[in-house]
Symmetry: D2
């Protein structure tokens, strides 16, 4: 029997003295003020047992991790028609994301790069009555936690400075792959990314991906097939152009955000979130990557 609590505590302890912790994301001004020393880990197994250590209950900006949640909400609405508007291939390319859009006629490579997440946001804006509220409620429900909220200041901060996202959204619009007004889609998208959640809240939300689409209250949000497919996309596309590296070093489906969070999961076994705000050169949490690599090494658990 694996002693998860001891393992994550050991990992946490081994990391507390590491000086080189990467760089905090500063392109969103509001994110720049986070204490780089923060480090939290929270793991939940399929039976619902919780193991945690460090700053695991402190909320942070989940940023790109939200893309998995919006995808999970949009997939059942659209069914497989979703894949007419966004592909499922890794982007593979650090530099010219917009060029790929141009070469591929406005169909983003996958729903976890910004362009793809903007298409998903457009779908939700088209299909939800009160897009921001409805999405927030969806996240609260799957996590069974009504205290989760947007950080309006961060959403506003992105609105003022997120020029690359404006560029991507307008390019998608020029190809007809955004149906609503660009400003409406971006307003939704910046809110979605501004969700404040703790490690604990994130494992509760991502429990559905580990548990065949069902939350801890046994309500089903995704079919088994849909769950499997979102996990596959997380594995091949969840870490920007470091997706291969993460599969190689960690071997779990997962998703990172520039707020320093990483969620990863082993289907039918456990779901884990790490939070350490310093990022490596590819934009993924430096200590988070390391912690998860140690976790799969020490437990011997991975999908491979």
């Amino acid at each position: 029997m694996i002693d998860f609590q001891k393992i994550i505590q050991d990992i946490h302890a081994s990391m507390s003295n590491i000086e080189v912790r990467g760089k905090i994301a500063s392109y969103i001004p509001e994110l720049a003020f986070i204490d780089k020393k923060k480090l939290g880990i929270h793991l939940i197994d399929q039976e619902g047992n919780n193991y945690f250590t460090g700053d695991s209950k402190e909320a942070f900006s989940i940023q790109s991790i939200s893309k998995v949640l919006s995808l999970a909400m949009a997939f059942p609405i659209m069914g497989d028609n979703l894949w007419k508007r966004v592909d499922v291939e890794p982007s593979g390319d650090p530099f010219n994301h917009l060029s790929l859009l141009e070469l591929e006629n406005g169909i983003p490579r996958n729903p976890l790069i910004n362009a793809g997440a903007l298409v998903i946001a457009d779908i939700l804006v088209s299909n939800l009555e009160n897009p921001k509220e409805d999405f927030l409620n969806y996240v609260r429900n799957i996590a069974n936690d009504q205290t989760i909220n947007f950080d309006k200041k961060i959403a506003y901060s992105e609105k003022e400075t997120g020029f690359k996202n404006y560029a991507a959204a307008n390019l998608l619009k020029s190809y007809g792959n955004i149906k609503n007004k660009v400003d409406d889609v971006l307003d939704f998208y910046f809110h979605q990314c501004s969700l404040q959640m703790s490690c604990k809240q994130l494992v509760n939300a991502f429990y559905i991906f580990m548990n065949k689409g069902m939350c801890q209250l046994n309500k089903s949000y995704l079919t088994v097939k849909q769950t499997k497919r979102i996990n596959a996309i997380m594995l091949t596309c969840g870490f920007y152009d470091e997706a291969g590296e993460f599969a190689f070093e960690v071997g779990l489906p997962g998703k990172s955000g520039v707020g320093g969070g990483i969620v990863a999961l082993l289907p039918n076994k456990f779901c884990v979130t790490t939070w350490s705000p310093g990022l490596n050169q590819k934009g993924n949490s430096k200590l988070g990557m390391l912690a998860l690599e140690q976790l799969t090494t020490k437990t011997g658990l991975s999908i491979f």
Copy 2:
């Protein structure tokens, strides 16, 4: 002695029966209504003699031709500092213009592609008191014609549908190469492109590039060196990804617009404008290209 009048009349006559005239630009809805049969040619020599035929006095939307005029206005303001914000190399690439921006850190390849013209527009917005009015007056003055005007409907039409330009401007903004508000720069840019000018008005305006920077009233707008350099840019970059083809077939510095106009010139000899709204696959006027090729063949005049 070359009989320009006879030559352009012969060219015009030889073209009146051509059925396949290319496609009218339809991405700007307002442009789609032009009669494809329109064909005008106007040539002015350095001495100020005028030769013209066909619809040479009818104003049309000059679109990208305006990029040379805004460049001419911005160059003396900025001097060679201009070239820190935009390069002078051909883009060479039909597909991934935005990717080039990404690869080259927000420095557009040259001032005659859209991204480069947006940087020029930004410079004028920064440096002019009343940007749109001042630019309009500049064009009226170099052409010595106070009747030239914007077409507000076309400017508005672009504002509603020019998503690729919004994408490019936001991408430039993300690299810090647009200083003003994106909306202000685009408002200026869409107005600049909406200028309505006839073949006659265009040769009058472009006379300065043929005549060492001086207009017909002998007022100097550009130094000899600046004029030479703008001509060089027109030759290497004036025809999208058909610049080489135009240099090869015609051999004159020039600039085309999707409204179907082409201006070309032989320094110290003549300046000529053709107008035929049908475009070839590269977006240049089909009959205009042909007419200019015949003109340089029949006169034996080209820079090569």
Copy 3:
């Protein structure tokens, strides 16, 4: 208990009447003569039980599937130094493989695209006494089958027509990432790709990737960690620019070849090979993809 035999027979039966079977690879002239009707499936579980149907004992040209075998042989020789010469990221890009090499200074994206496999071939040529013989013996040993052999005619056929591989190898050489003579590396590479193996022989060889690096005779060829990493690379990079699609639809690490074979495996559970020579537009076996999708759907077994 899953009845593998019934499941693969059902899949085989359901496919026998499919008319549209994709296109046989013809760029290697020798491959063009295969009967498109061929269809074989062979599955082996971790306990060594065999389940098979159709043309599962007929040898075919394994082509790119061999890249996993050469990687498996090179990895223990080089250890993690291997990853200085080749990366582990999906290439993501159907068109400009060579351009990626140019942009990334001669470091191929991963060992399963041609450029990466050429680097692996170079490593084996450097480290083996009799490269072709030693590699052949390695494959025979892990599969415990001394009848496996190269098809010299196919190797020769590639040598005469494989200009893209010559281009890639010379480009790698120009970056110093091939140490031996280009012709020696390509001679090895074309032989490696020309291996003739049946579905049965392939599952026997790939058994080591399903079984923590150990063959059926319990000899260890790879450490657990090395095995896990090769599986991760297969999942993210094993299907050209359809890797995401395969992870999404099938959810197993695997590798395809233009000869129409696909090997896939679920760690610690089973390894399966399908063979149907018709390829889809991305170059993967059309019926093979379908058969594996059905297998994971019917068994409910996948890594996700």
Copy 4:
């Protein structure tokens, strides 16, 4: 009346003390031994008057300058059919030349990049009885100088190390745009590039491009139209990704080589060659670019 002799002497004098002279090409080992202090200028006007200074009579490796000569030989053989196998657009792109080939189905952007010159070489190999000898005689004849010769050591040196050219030639072969054996085409190409010529010999050879296709003995090698077109290609494509810069700063059709030579010409006026082995970052002679910029500034002569 312009005093060419004084002007080029002044330019030469002003440069003799410049310390920073760029880097000598070292990728061809044989070129690395040249004295960086060498500086020659030779100008010939249409009337045949010669003006020269410095090391203008010392032969050096003309390298890429030879591409204009092979093009001039191939053009009359193929006529306009030539342009089915190579385009006339600037490549515009420093990094991914081979990718452009992949995107554009094996049609090189223009005949002055390596891939295009390889296609021209293939055409000459197909059409000449004794390709190397016939080409050498062609150059000797247009320059009216039977002492011009290949440097076999340099040709051999390229053969041993020119892996990028092998890569390009094989890629072209894979698209069917090289008809002969790759090795035969490269053998011709490396010889062509190895031509040793002095500034004086180069202006004599390039006299035909300044003089409507006729050499100094009044023999015609190109039609007026062909000459004009080759000049257009030199202007738009003659300086790698610095073609726009050269047109902008100098304003003459020309061609550079990594041996440090530059030939430029003003149609019907003069032809000039500079030689200084140090190269700038784009691979063009640093002092040569500067000398030609000064020449056109001091004489006021350029095509613009």
